[in-house]
Amino acid sequence: MKRVRLVHVLIAAGVVAVAVPAAGVTKSQALPTSVGKGEGKLTLVAWEGYTEKQWVAPFEKATGCDVTTKYAGSSNDMFNLMTSGGGGQYDMVSASGDASLRLIYAGAVAEVNMKLIPASKDFFKAFQSPPNNTVDGKHYGVSLQFGPNVLMVNKKAFKKAPTTWGALYDPKNKGRITVPDNPIQIADAALYLSKTKPSLGIKDPYELTKAQLDAAVQLLEQQRPLVKKYWALASDQIDLFKNGGSTIGASWPYQVNTLRAAKVPVVGVIPKEGATGWLDTWMLSSKAKHPNCAYKWMQYISTPKPQAQQAIYFGETPVNKKACKVMDSISKGACAQYSGNKTESYYRSIKFWKTPITDCGNGQKNCMDLRAWTDAWTKIKG
């Protein structure tokens, strides 16, 4: 009797183990309480430039975890790599905000015990549990680096830099505007509308109802005839500002820095409405084969030195406030150049990219999801 019962228990446990992860978000594997010995290997999906030798080699030497990286071309690419084929080939992904919620709700990434990542205490408050990687108080990965989307203007054309995103919708600037070719750009219009048309009731630019999305689409359709080019690559916009006749556009700090280095008198401002931005997160696959090495990687990549190295290499801002000093020691003035020394309220003012999903917390599931955004973007561009 006893033996039969044990078999039953085992079968039941097996069924639960298989069925529960398939059920999606709510499952939670037991969180590790300590990090064991490394497995000798770590496989990553990352943006190009995120796993450079200068900060990966010291990690490999210290932990014995050999890092292999697969570069992803887009957020969608990352999502597919982490979900297709069972998703067991890769341990971690450096997901951006427009993919992270999708990964969480698809059950592709696991909860992370932040207690095991001591350096996360030194993160700016805004990045300790941001909504794009923390759901119901559960952390799905460790914040990495971020950047705001800024309004870039050429000072030759604008004696006084505009202080509102409205400049991008102003017919006076026709033919000089450049805007990223990405559906998430709709959030910029929504952010502007949330301040200029409070009657629409937009609280979060990533949580839009049908009516709110339509309003944003209408604004962007009016913008279309003013746009010189929807740029796909950062280098496109750099070209357009150098000799392509563009003098104002939605941009990233990377373009501002690159153009300044090329002696183009541009300035990047965050207008009074605030700004959207991106925040990348190292997320742990729910089927990671090398979880100990993954935890060791999260511990390491959160510390000031690799944070500073990556920030300078890629032109973004570290989430660890102690990285500032290291940045300045690597290259004088780098911390200020990449906004690593701003106040907490500055970081709070940035609305970080978040996957648009139907459930936006009001219990009605009436928000428009990423596919609706993408379809709308196709319409806007014509």
Partner: protein, 304 residues
Amino acid sequence: MAVDSSRVEGPAAAGPLRAVSRFTWRRPGLVTLGQISTPVAAFLLVYVAALVALLIQSLWTSDSFTGKVIHTWTFDNFREIAEDPYPTIIRRTVFIAAAVTVTCMLLAFPYAYFLVRIASRRLRIALLVATVLPLWVSYLVRVYSWRLILNPEGALNWWLNQLGLPDQNIAYTNWAMWLVFTYIWFPFMVLPVYAALERLPYSYIEASADLGAKGWTTLRRVILPLAVPGLAAGSIFTFSLTLGDYIAPSLVGGPGSSLIGTVVFENLGLANNLPFAAAFATIPLAIMAVYLALMKRLGAFESL
């Protein structure tokens, strides 16, 4: 001993082979089938199976959140194609493809005629090499270089200013796309037209002149009809290549320059909507089928 035994076993081993040989000797059709089975299998697997898979995919849908394909049969994808803005995008694509094809024809015919009839042997070889030379350079580099040429402060405006002409301002417009496509697909038009004209015997032209036809009549009634297969073959290249392209619109196109390829790419790369991308990809297929039928109707294939 060893040699002897192998001699004995030799014919015995060939027994079944001989049977096969006898069997096929009487049925030559089977031999032909056996010989072409590999290419036929490759054709069926690589081309036909892929197309069938595409058609089947286009009748499915996908989960809008996870992007997982849902295997229920529906025409929703095609209904969506009929809605704004997709008909505009399809019309724009066909129009630009047609404009590029006509421009390539108008440029390629006199050029190919010059190569065949007028240019010296040496000049002809030099010009032919120059025509195909751009094909050795990466497509991306060629499209990018046009961006630099067309930019407001680019090479073209510099030359226009040197000549005292006003600035052009066609960078990042549909005009720029038309220009770049025409440049990029031009060799694909020149080569078939050149081949068609080269095959045309000089005696035909002499005969036409002997019968009293003037140069223009000879061109219209002798040369042009015989060049039609070349023009048709070239137009199939330029038309279909433009229909499917998505790189040039993203690099040199502006707002309102989305083509069919752009929509397919965005549904694969951003929306993760494989079935809709498959459904949209059947549109150029249908357009090409109509186009080829039209070409056949014009008798373009008879002399190929």
